[in-house]
Symmetry: C2
Subunit: 329 residues, 2 copies
DNA sequence: TGATGCGGCTGATTCGATTCAGCAGTGGTA
DNA sequence: TACCACTGCTGAATCGAATCAGCCGCATCA
């Protein structure tokens, strides 16, 4: 403990504490004393006791991360990677908990984190959406990750889905597509990804005096993507560009196109959203607008620990990950 | 704080503490007193300060989970879900850190966890393999998750890959397959999944006086699966049952089979390992032997916190998740 | 010569719980 | 009547750091 270090160095615990906390200059500790203490620290392999420190300072160098399901989510789990790395860079650790969507469990997790005096809480959701800040986080320093609360003035970190929508369409337009259909409709009312992407899609088309040629309605699963697209094709549906709302859906679209003898990208160009590993596994590789999950997680933690605490939403750009599903011009 | 509760209830902090720690009976506290204290707790919304408690007890009701990459891993991240849920059930929280495979970062993470007096550490790897216990964990209560250290006597939790191999083959044999090829070779020397699955595969075939008909060599990626299988087929390779070492690989195999006009399961039955979401997205749905990631994570935490600390490996069964890729008999 | 300032350090208190040792009061027993 | 056991509770020490207020000695200055 610190007292041992102090004894070994022949100074008081107070002095040792100042030195270890980088307050040597401020406290005008003689350089020789600093050296002695540092030697003692190295000598004894001193490791501070965080519980003791936290008891006094009320800070734990620990951030909480509560989510519904992000570890279970295929790609979204990278938010944890980002959060963990960013936390380390700022000398913090991440305490995580998953509620699985159960509000009672969520309450418990938040409660336990607050008992442990986390320095702040990141509240994350699997899918981009609006939420209500849980009661337990009222008054607690917190950042929303992949979600926003329109009723609260809070820092929030989300992907720029509208920009992503524009980028997706820009890719198709650049390849000469003019007859652009959108596949997929956001199934959840609170979800923000679908509407925002759609806004971007329309905005970009508008720059060429175009609009969405049509919408193939289905949820965002492989099966629905396959079935809805099959029906559409069977009804004579045709397009030169398809925007799929996510990669899984696009996989179903690929299957449907193949069954109807249409080739990607020769007969139709396809772009999608997610930039998941799946996009890279499809043949041809699916051009997809990437959800920057790692970056989102990292940014959320940085904003949480950032001393100048500005509220408002950070939209992280979504970049096109080029594949072979868009016909080269 | 506790003193407030005690004051409100008209007792000493000592008494209040005993009651809150469930030692009322042992300390012969009168039932009326217990009631008074509980009322005060509810009244004041008392929430214990864990740092203070930890300072005395040296326990934090917190477990560390260090891994190379499990959050970034598609399916493996469910280990975090399982760990988080099991921890909650045992009134603990999970402190997580990802090293990305960097030994220095790993050392730092472990160091930071120990400073925070975690009650134990789960050391997890993305892929099932053998490892050397990191120096920093020597003498620390720890459990290996998805890995084993042959040189140490430690509790360890891994999937039963050998049993999985047997189950995969049993499924094929039950469907009448006799000419069984294996696709995929484990690319990493320390990896345990491949050899164990192979052992199970051979063992089960042996019960029918059979052996593996042949091996299509490739690593476990979609592309390699596609290319190696294509070459094999082009060389006249045929089989009535294929065991793929994982689902991604199987996806490549599907692609190759399709290009050669072979239909699953009519021309060839396919089983695989992982039981990932991808298996469910393929057409036909891929029959796959599931890696029980959530259970693995949960079990690791339970063993870590289990008071009777037995060393040795727990192998969690891998179950077949039936799809449509095995021809019904 | 006495007041003032400053460099360099330390003693004592505090954070909020846990826990050991022990203390009144009561009733039973020899 | 003296002793003991038991019930029901409490005072004080303790965990390991952070931090405030202040102390001592020496140089400076009016």
């Amino acid at each position: 403990m610190l007292a041992d270090v102090a004894a070994e160095a022949g100074v008081s615990a107070t002095t040792a504490s100042y030195i270890l906390n980088g307050r040597a200059d401020e406290m005008r500790i003689a350089p020789a004393t600093v050296t002695k203490v540092q030697a003692a620290v190295a000598d004894l392999g001193y490791r501070p006791n965080r519980s003791a420190r936290s008891l006094r300072t009320r800070r734990t160098a620990t951030v909480g991360l509560v989510s519904d399901q992000i570890a279970g989510e295929q790609y979204g789990s990278s938010m944890l990677t980002g959060a963990s790395l960013a936390a380390r860079e700022l000398d913090h650790l991440v305490v995580m908990g998953e509620s699985g969507g159960d509000p009672e469990l969520e309450r418990l997790l938040i409660e336990e984190m607050l008992e442990r005096d986390v320095d702040g809480v990141v509240y994350a959701t699997r899918t981009a959406r609006t939420v209500h800040l849980p009661e337990g986080l009222r008054g607690v320093r917190s950042v929303l990750l992949n979600c926003e609360d329109p009723d609260e003035r809070l820092p929030s970190v989300v992907p720029d889905d509208e920009g992503g929508g524009r980028a997706a369409v820009a890719t198709l337009l650049a390849a000469g597509a003019r007859d652009v259909w959108v596949v997929g409709e956001d199934p959840v009312p609170e979800a923000t990804a679908g509407p925002r992407r759609m806004a971007g899609i329309r905005a970009e088309l508008a720059t060429h005096d175009l609009d969405v040629a049509g919408l193939v309605r289905c949820d965002w699963s492989v099966t629905e993507g396959f079935e809805a697209t099959s029906r559409w094709l069977a009804d004579g549906g045709r397009a030169d560009g398809l925007v799929c709302m996510n990669d899984r859906l696009a996989m179903g679209v690929y299957q449907a196109l193949a069954e109807h003898g249409l080739r990607v990208p020769d007969d139709v160009s396809v772009v999608s959203f997610d930039g998941s590993a799946l996009a890279g596994w499809l043949r041809p590789v699916l051009t997809s607008v990437e959800l920057p999950f790692t970056e989102l997680g990292a940014l959320a933690v940085r904003r949480l620990l950032d001393p100048d605490d500005h509220v408002g939403t950070d939209s992280v750009p979504m970049r096109v990950r080029p594949g072979g599903s868009v016909r080269p011009v």
